[in-house]
Amino acid sequence: MANKWEGQALVRKQAQIGDGIFDLTLQADEIAARARAGQFVSLYCRDGARILPRPVSLCEINAGEGTIRLVYRVAGKGTKEFSGLREGDAVRVLGPLGNGFSFRGKSAFLIGGGIGIPPMLELAKELNEKEPQTEHKMILGYRSERFLLEDFRAQGEVFVATEDGSAGTKGNVLDAIRENHLSADVIYACGPMPMLRALKAYAQENRMECFLSLEERMACGIGACLACVCKTKETDPHTNVRNKRICKEGPVFDAGEVELS
């Protein structure tokens, strides 16, 4: 069985769940059967003028139903097109792509910021399944409006930070961790670069393991074009320079191995 599948996926449902945030479920049996938390798919536009696939993280994988759930923000014309997809439409998809999260068997923070929140939901589900005895706390940082909160609460204890203080801790995810006196052995996180940089520093200070999901503008999505690289501490055995491919060796990296710009 090849690792990746490419083809037309049927839209099972789509709903708007926030300001510019869409919740799309696709029938993609082959992808659902082999995907894991932290991986992503490439979605292709119908509009021939939009030539590059859009990388979208997996929010939930339902192998039994053969479906994948994608929660994304409309950021440009490509994602605007996807937001118009309705039940029964088809969309071309390639995946699963990237490495996904690795499980450490230790108590963990699952931290999502903004549109980095969705992939942490599948991770929470898989951790509950694979490590039911370890403790996992979810910390979600929003600008203001919350989304997916009920889905996360179904997976365990959730702490919220909002920039405007409209819910939970006023501030960022680290403020929520401090305010609630939370501790853990491992950080898994996805979100904006300032948050990831702060978490990397926090993990170092507190001697925690830290795994960060990075994003970058991509072209091929499969590791051939070398568009989406990040700087690394050591020479990468594949590229033979201090660069790793986010779409291939990532998007999840040990914070210690990457240099965050």
């Binding site: 990746k4 503008r217 989406c228 320079v241």
Partner: protein, 313 residues
């Protein structure tokens, strides 16, 4: 993978193979350098045996780290890239990438980049005893400060680098030309005078994309090379002009997405074509172009693809 025997019989009736410098390619469709790596990543999804050749991503004498990110930006009908020729260097390439490609029934064309004539020559000499079919010399990359396009915009420099490389090359030499020049035929003539065995054209056109919300450049490098369907008519025109000017075989590229695009290029004078950015649009683009050319020949009752080469000249 059509098992219909009638269709297979029809397939036997048309010839899709072409010859360049005495080397036979099973069909005229190649992958354009830089869009396909050395084929490994695509091989999971694409049958490399169905391609006329794999043209590898540019390789230098030593590893190059490339440019800062963002390295790509989408534009209407195309994309800009400023990857900056990141590559693992010729040693790892010879150890890993060539043996990988040898497992497939396709031709291997190695794209060579450098910052100086000595760099190009070092790579070409290192490849002399390697089992590769042709060399494509990249004198047209717009995204690196030294080498690349600096060699490709001055006819005297083009002639000089071509003859330096030719002296050392064990395989036929293709010079890859830049469209970022006033008169591409002048550059083509210079490559021919330097002893080139074939020409590839076109590389990307230098462009720029500005993010008006952030009021900044989208690419970290500010400028990047424009590729994709938007540049196809320019590439067809340049292939046509160059085909009228020199007697060298031409590998045509620039915005080829479909078999129809490839056939335009062949009619304009290209013996073979490369599919590049279209690989990002559809991982099967090159395979589909190869199949589509065969269908076109059958549909028009043409027995041999070579009848189409330069038919409009």
């Amino acid at each position: 993978m059509n098992k219909n025997p009638d269709r297979n019989m029809e397939k036997a009736a048309v010839n899709t193979s072409v010859q360049i410098c005495g080397i036979t390619f099973k069909n005229p469709v190649m992958t354009a350098s830089g869009t396909f790596g050395s084929g490994e990543e695509y091989s999971e999804l694409v049958d490399l045996n169905r391609l006329g050749a794999v043209v590898t991503k540019g390789v230098a004498n030593v590893p190059w780290p490339g440019n800062p990110t963002p390295r790509v930006a989408e534009v209407y009908g195309g994309m800009l890239n400023a990857v900056g020729l990141q590559n693992p260097g010729i040693e790892l390439f010879c150890k890993r990438d060539i043996p990988f490609l040898r497992r497939f029934d396709t031709r291997i064309i190695v794209n060579v980049c450098g910052k100086s004539a000595a760099d190009y020559c070092e790579v070409v000499e290192r490849l002399a005893n390697e089992p590769v079919d042709m060399l494509e010399i990249n004198i047209s990359c717009p995204n690196v400060k030294e080498g690349g396009i600096a060699f490709g915009q001055d006819p005297k420099a083009v002639e000089a680098i071509t003859s330096e490389v030719k002296k050392r090359a064990a395989q036929p030499v293709i010079m890859k030309l830049s469209p970022n020049v006033t008169d591409i035929t002048e550059i083509a003539r210079a490559a021919e005078a330097g002893g080139a065995d074939a020409l590839s054209l076109i590389n990307t056109l230098t462009g720029m994309k500005i993010d008006i919300e952030r009021r900044t450049f989208v690419l970290a490098n500010k400028t990047g090379g424009l590729s994709g369907p938007a540049i196809h008519p320019i590439a067809v025109r340049m292939v046509y002009q160059v085909a009228q000017t020199v007697s060298l075989p031409i590998i045509g590229m620039g915005g080829i997405v479909t078999a129809e695009d490839a056939i335009e290029m062949i009619l304009a004078g290209a013996t073979a074509v490369s599919v590049g950015t279209a690989n990002f649009m559809d991982v099967h683009a090159a395979e589909k172009a190869a199949d589509g050319i065969e269908d076109y020949l059958r549909r028009h009752g043409i027995a041999d693809v070579r009848e189409l080469v330069g038919a409009l000249l």
